[in-house]
Amino acid sequence: MTRAAATTHPPTHDQFTTLEQQAQAVKIALGVFLASEALLFTSIFALVTAYQSDWPDAFRIGIAHNTKVLGSVNTLVLLVSSTLVALAVEAQRADRKRIAGALTLSTAVLGVVFLVIKMTEYAEHFREGIYPGGHGSFFLEHPQHGLPTFWTLYFLATGLHAVHVTVGTGLLTYRGIRVFRGSLTHSLEATALYWHLVDVIWIFLWPIFYLA
């Protein structure tokens, strides 16, 4: 079975002559988007690496202060969710709409679980007096140079990632419901590609802020 055979396609937009041409244009745009996202997060990774070389001790304190177990559980949540959405694409190709919809909605649920765990971590940080920009009582007790920079970069990177997870969860919910009902005319591939990117970004955020 070909990749798109299982899906009922919408009519082409005016600027395209064939469905294949339209689908390919979407893929190219998605490729450029994924590349730009990778570049955005790499710039943050590069900042962390550069500042870590300036203040290795402060960054070690910051990483040790993070809850390794919660970060690791979130890693497992995203890896399982990525597997589920990949299976959803396979199910849609096989024209098993109900299974594809259920798998997509399960992925969205795991996205919510990830966000709940992340917000739990943030709440704990705020309770300890850790805020972006080096504000809060934590920094009076730990006056080491570089700690405010570590926590600012932590909130920037994980916050930006959480925004991506939120958007992805919304997309997966919307598409999952439509696939389940059999009313989705597009392939799930684009949404799945976006979710895999969110997963890959966390694959690198995890060692940087929890394991290093």
Partner: protein, 103 residues
């Protein structure tokens, strides 16, 4: 469906690699631990890219867009790494705060 089996095996491998990364973080290997963590992260990214995103099955135009991103990422990391490695001390010392003269 062989595709389903491939995805299940890939997902299991990803979880196994994550558990390995977690275990290595307790071995206290110093600077080596971050190297191992990034090596495992690279392997996981490869698995996601090849088996979940199926980049190998995409057309050349899609691969070209991703390749452009990879090259730009490599250039960015290369320039940052060279800057961190080669830059000298800051050109100016930090400002010294002085008490205001008594009037």
């Amino acid at each position: 469906m062989t595709g389903v089996r491939t995805k299940l095996v890939s997902g299991t491998a990803l979880i196994a690699l994550a558990i390995a990364s977690f275990a290595f973080s307790y071995l206290h290997l110093g600077r080596g631990s971050i190297g191992i963590a990034f090596l495992i992260a690279g392997l996981k990214t490869l698995l996601v890219g090849v088996f979940f995103m199926e980049i190998g099955r995409e057309r050349a135009s899609f691969k070209l867009a991703l390749l452009a991103g990879v090259l730009l990422v490599a250039a960015l990391l290369g320039f940052v790494a060279s800057d961190v490695r080669l830059r000298g001390a800051p050109p100016l010392p930090p400002p010294v705060t002085q008490a205001a003269p008594a009037v």
